[in-house]
């Protein structure tokens, strides 16, 4: 039997009878309020147009509850707070204990199962950012426990454990859905026996975006929710545009080998200035950014970092030279460049980079990321914040992009990045940003807002920090 989370507060230990009564009344009022909003127009199906790489995250966001949620409560139903973890809410975890700097204990809510397994899988999955963060920080976490309790012991103090749990889905019965929808292919259907209240929507139909926008089908063109970046030509005048809490930043990543060989000549300020001049990021952002991109010289977007003094723009004493498109045979030196994502902006960046490398006598071999084989020495990647925390997001990004670069990993193993104090973490993150840019390990190119176009009669859509739309609390209203 599945218990609704709202009834679990009645059994919280340590509360007196008056307090319990007050809590019950508060919960009843909150739930009634939420259901009242959802009941405005229950049912209906939403069609969502997504880039292919965003589909897995979208499906998981609707089929699984996360062990932790961070940030302010949304407009709809919100999970209850977690005892022992201020600022965090969870439908799965009732209480968190932190008896030692290196030890955390989670206690699941009634009816929750698979808690320890969920944590362990999350921390050992190379594709998830907690794992990448641990690798970058040089930490290991050992998880023990059972269905309702999980104990995590880290090799060093890990004050940000609750943040990491925001990336971990609750896996019950070996991976069965724990969220409000169940997936059957690209169709998500409403579930009743979830850890959250049942959604208003009956179903969500996913439409995968074509690599070429010109080849979009009629379904794609008429999608209710559109999470693609280049839908300039398909704009409906009445579309509501929602933005992700933070933009993503396109970054040129150079590992140790690339920095040593320096095929782009970035070691000097002259080289960096020349690259920025020749790349014409401004032009590419204007043409391919769909109005949501802008050149940037900082890795951390405004949403994550406070107002600060950024690096002084490098100066060059070398006169500008016209870009030479010199012919190169197939036997010319070649650099493998990994590219994350396949939208028009990414293609334009790579194409222009190929031109720049060609002018330097080097051919470019583009490799889709993530791919097989050794990681390319140069990558064009999107820095997408994983959480509204600069230090954690940067650590996760470094773990994903430069996990074999010992020099960089050494510099990021700064204990302040994992400190419990947000201000200390932020200071360390800003230092790290400056260091990575000065080493030319990361060269920020442009920032892009993740925008989601939403049908004007669809309400309650949220956009997560990684740009994924979440429709758990969405509902249709009748056309005015």
């Amino acid at each position: 039997m599945t218990h609704h989370p709202r009834s679990r507060a009645l059994h919280s230990p340590g509360l007196g009878a008056p307090a319990r009564m007050s809590l019950v009344l508060c919960l009843l009022v909150a739930v009634t309020s939420a259901h009242a909003r959802r009941s405005q127009a229950p049912g209906g199906t939403v069609t969502v147009l997504l880039p292919e790489e965003q589909v897995p995250a979208f499906v998981e966001a609707h089929t699984h509850v996360t062990l932790m949620e961070h940030g302010p409560a949304g407009p709809g139903w919100s999970a209850p707070s977690v005892v022992g973890a201020g600022g965090f809410r969870s439908a799965a975890v009732a209480r968190v204990e932190h008896p030692q700097p290196t030890k955390w204990v989670l206690h699941g809510r009634t009816g929750v199962s698979g808690l320890a397994t969920s944590v362990e899988r999350c921390f050992n999955d190379d594709a998830r950012w907690p794992r990448q963060l641990l690798q970058a920080a040089g930490l290991t976490v050992t998880t023990t426990g059972n269905d309702t309790t999980a104990t995590m012991v880290s090799s060093r103090a890990l004050d940000v454990m609750p943040m990491m749990l925001t990336a971990c889905p609750l896996l019950v019965d070996g991976g069965a859905p724990s969220g409000t929808f169940a997936a059957a292919g690209l169709r998500l259907s409403k579930r009743k026996s979830a850890f959250e209240p049942a959604p208003f929507l009956q179903a969500i139909q996913i439409v995968v975006d074509s690599a070429n926008p010109d080849n979009r089908t009629a379904d794609a063109r008429s999608a209710d929710v559109r999470a693609v970046h280049d839908d300039v030509t398909d704009v409906r005048t009445d579309t509501t545009t929602l933005l992700a809490p933070s933009p993503s930043v396109w970054v040129l990543v150079q590992n140790a080998a690339a920095r040593a060989e320096d095929p782009l000549g970035l070691r000097t300020d002259d080289g960096l200035v020349r690259l920025q001049d020749e790349w014409r990021i401004d032009l590419l952002a204007a043409v391919y950014g769909a109005g949501r991109a802008a050149p940037t010289t900082s890795l951390l977007p405004t949403a994550l970092a406070p107002a600060r003094a950024v690096l002084e723009p490098p100066k060059s004493s070398v006169a500008k030279q016209p870009l030479a498109l010199q012919p190169l045979p197939a036997s010319a030196p070649k650099v493998r460049v990994g590219v994350q994502g396949g939208d028009a902006l990414a293609a334009a960046l790579v194409e222009r980079l190929a031109l720049l490398l060609r002018s330097r006598g080097v051919l470019l071999e583009a490799v889709s990321m993530p791919g097989e084989g050794p990681p390319p020495s140069i990558q064009l990647m999107r820095f997408v914040p994983v959480i509204d925390d600069a230090a954690i997001s940067m650590l996760a990004f470094v773990g994903a992009a430069l996990n074999n670069d010992e020099a960089i990993l050494t510099s990021v193993r700064d204990a302040r990045l994992l400190n419990a104090d947000a201000a200390i973490r932020m200071a360390a993150a800003l230092d790290l940003e400056r260091s990575l840019q000065q080493q030319r390990a990361l060269v920020p190119l442009l920032s892009v807002d993740s925008a989601v176009g939403v049908h004007p009669q669809l309400h309650g859509v949220r956009v997560l920090i990684n740009g994924t739309p979440r429709l758990v609390d969405a509902w249709w209203t009748e056309e005015p």
Partner: protein, 592 residues
């Protein structure tokens, strides 16, 4: 090598020579036929390939002309007074960057760019987006204004690729511009040609990097250095350089190299060679079998003839050869001739033997008559003396009778002796073979017949000679005859009186010889030829004339020979008896 082979050839049997000769002949025939066939087929295939390449070149030239027309049409529409080129130059940034991209039509218009007079690319639609870059071909675009399309190497993600380009010079407002359109000659072009001409077109190569050299018409040294679009079916340099029939097509600004796959020819030739090898092996096998059979038929009668001839030479007068059933007339004639010759030889031999026998007996009879006549004369004289004394009533008749009777008796005894000797000669007793030591036999004979004090006897006797199996009495007769003759010859002669007897193993290892030589007067030439003839003697009335004849017969009966020579060292006669040694005492070998 030649000498070695010649020596080998000389020592080969006829059968092996025949087999080898037929083997070589068949091999040579197969080899010549194969070479002739392969050369002929290769020549024919090369002609076909050349015709195919010519057709391919024609098709490509037609393609090029069609491409030129299509590019011209596109350029006319794009760069005319109301064309989009002006908009690209003067329009919004987005148009400059992406406008040309939208004008591309894959397979028709692959290259499209607007270039300023200074070479700066104002807008480009093909990869890579190169606005702001200097176009390396600008000099060509500016200076080459002929009516032909030009081959230009354009950048591709993989490097460079040949593209056929056309361009027009115009102006956007006051700014001179050049609008360029082109089509890649890529893998699709190869596939299209491959389908149409039914052969693999392996590579389309622009031979030189920009600026293209019109004079570069020589064969490409390596496609690796050239900018080539290669067919994926043979995308490696070795195949391109070795397995391709090359033709060049003059294109404005360069040369287009076309390769037609010649692997088909190689496959056909390989197939022919394989079949030739198989047929050759089969032919050689059959040749060996046939030559062995033919050699057998041809050589076998010859070998039979050789064996029969050997038997005939060894004394087998009945040696004959059977005529093989399937033999030809030549072989049959040869065998019949041999058999006839052998039969004639047999008859002649019989006749000769008969004649020799008669002759021998005539000689014997003559000698015997002579010997018989000698005693008869004294007997007759004695009888006439006795008769005359009786008629005269001689008082000494008794004495005369006694005297003459004695003479008669003496002569009669001599006749008896002659009769006994003849009987011995004519009919030797049966041999009684027994083991004899030659040294002892010689010593015994010397002890009996060489006891004169004045005689100097030398013995050279090999004491290790094996025992003989012979009749002791007969062999003693031979030795005593020879020693006695030698002693008598020496004793009648002046000094020195030397007799030498030597017994030793002969050089052939299978016989031994006994040599008796002396320092006597030797053998007179007139006697030498008839020395072993019965009743020929040099001792007058003291000899019977049968000693040496009897000795010769005894030696021959023992399988040996008896020969007479002059002794060069002692000056007298030298008699050599050769006797075969027992088989077990055959030649000894000395091991190193």
């Amino acid at each position: 090598m030649t000498e070695w082979f010649f020596q080998r050839w000389l020592h080969m049997t006829l059968r092996l020579r025949l087999v080898l000769g037929m083997f070589v002949a068949v091999t040579a025939v197969v080899l010549v036929l194969t070479v002739v066939h392969v050369v002929e087929v290769q020549r024919r295939l090369e002609r076909d390939l050349d015709a195919q390449a010519t057709r391919l070149v024609t098709l490509i030239q037609q393609d090029l002309r069609a491409t030129e027309r299509a590019l011209d049409a596109e350029l006319a529409a794009f760069s005319g007074p109301r064309g989009a080129a002006r908009a690209l130059v003067n329009g919004r940034t987005e148009l400059r960057v992406r406008g040309a991209q939208g004008r591309l039509v894959p397979g028709r218009i692959d290259v499209l760019k607007v270039v300023a007079a200074d070479g700066t690319i104002l807008s480009s639609g093909h990869w890579p987006t190169s606005f702001g870059a200097l176009d390396p071909m600008v000099d060509t675009y500016r200076n080459q204004t002929d009516a032909r399309a030009h081959l230009v190497e354009e950048a591709t993600p993989q490097g460079q690729a040949p593209a056929l380009e056309r361009w027009v010079q115009g102006a956007s407002g006051a700014k001179p511009i050049i609008v360029v359109a082109g089509r890649f000659l890529g893998v699709d072009a190869l596939a299209s040609l491959r389908e149409r001409i039914g052969a693999h077109v392996l590579a389309l190569c622009a031979h030189s990097a920009p600026p293209l050299s019109p004079s570069s018409t020589s064969s490409p040294s390596s496609f690796r250095d050239a900018s080539c679009i290669t067919d994926p079916v043979a995308n490696d340099t070795a195949t391109l350089t070795e397995g391709v029939h090359h033709r060049s097509i003059e294109v404005g600004g360069g040369v287009l190299w076309v390769g037609v796959d010649r692997s088909g020819i190689d496959e056909v030739l390989s197939g022919i060679l394989l079949r030739a090898v198989l047929v050759g092996v089969l032919a050689l096998l059959l040749a060996v079998i046939a030559s062995v059979w033919a050699a057998q038929r041809l050589v076998q009668p010859i070998e039979s003839l050789a064996a029969a001839a050997a038997r005939l030479a060894a004394g087998d007068r009945g040696a004959r050869v059977d005529t093989p059933a399937l033999s030809g007339p030549e072989v049959r004639g040869l065998i019949e001739g041999f058999n006839g010759m052998a039969a004639d030889l047999d008859r002649d031999q019989q006749r000769l033997l008969q004649a020799e026998r008669v002759s021998a007996w005539q000689e014997i009879a003559q000698g015997l008559a002579h010997e018989l006549k000698n005693p008869l004369t004294p007997i007759l004289s004695a009888m006439e003396v006795i008769q005359k004394a009786h008629r005269l009533k001689r008082i000494d008749f008794d004495d005369i009778l006694q005297e003459q009777a004695g003479a008669v008796i003496e002569e009669v005894m001599r006749l008896k002796e002659l009769s006994d000797a003849f009987a011995r000669f004519a009919r030797l007793p049966e041999q009684k073979l027994e083991p004899l030591r030659p040294a002892e036999l010689v010593e015994h004979a010397l002890a009996l017949y060489a006891r004169h004090e004045a005689l100097h006897v030398e013995r050279i006797i090999d004491a290790e000679l094996p025992t003989l199996h012979a009749d002791k009495t007969q062999l003693m007769t031979v030795l005593s005859n020879l020693i006695k003759n030698a002693v008598e010859a020496v004793m009648e002669h002046h000094e020195p009186k030397r007799l030498r007897v030597s017994v030793a193993r002969a050089d052939d290892g299978v016989t031994m010889h006994i040599v008796v030589e002396d320092s006597g007067t030797g053998i007179a030439p007139e006697v030498a030829e008839r020395l072993f003839t019965p009743y020929v003697t040099t001792k007058g009335s003291r000899g019977t004339g049968l000693g040496l004849a009897l000795s010769l017969r005894i030696v021959q009966e023992h399988g040996g020979t008896l020969e007479a020579f002059s002794s060069a060292e002692l000056g007298g006669a030298r008699f050599v008896v050769r006797l075969p040694m027992p088989a077990s005492a055959g030649p000894t070998t000395t091991e190193a």
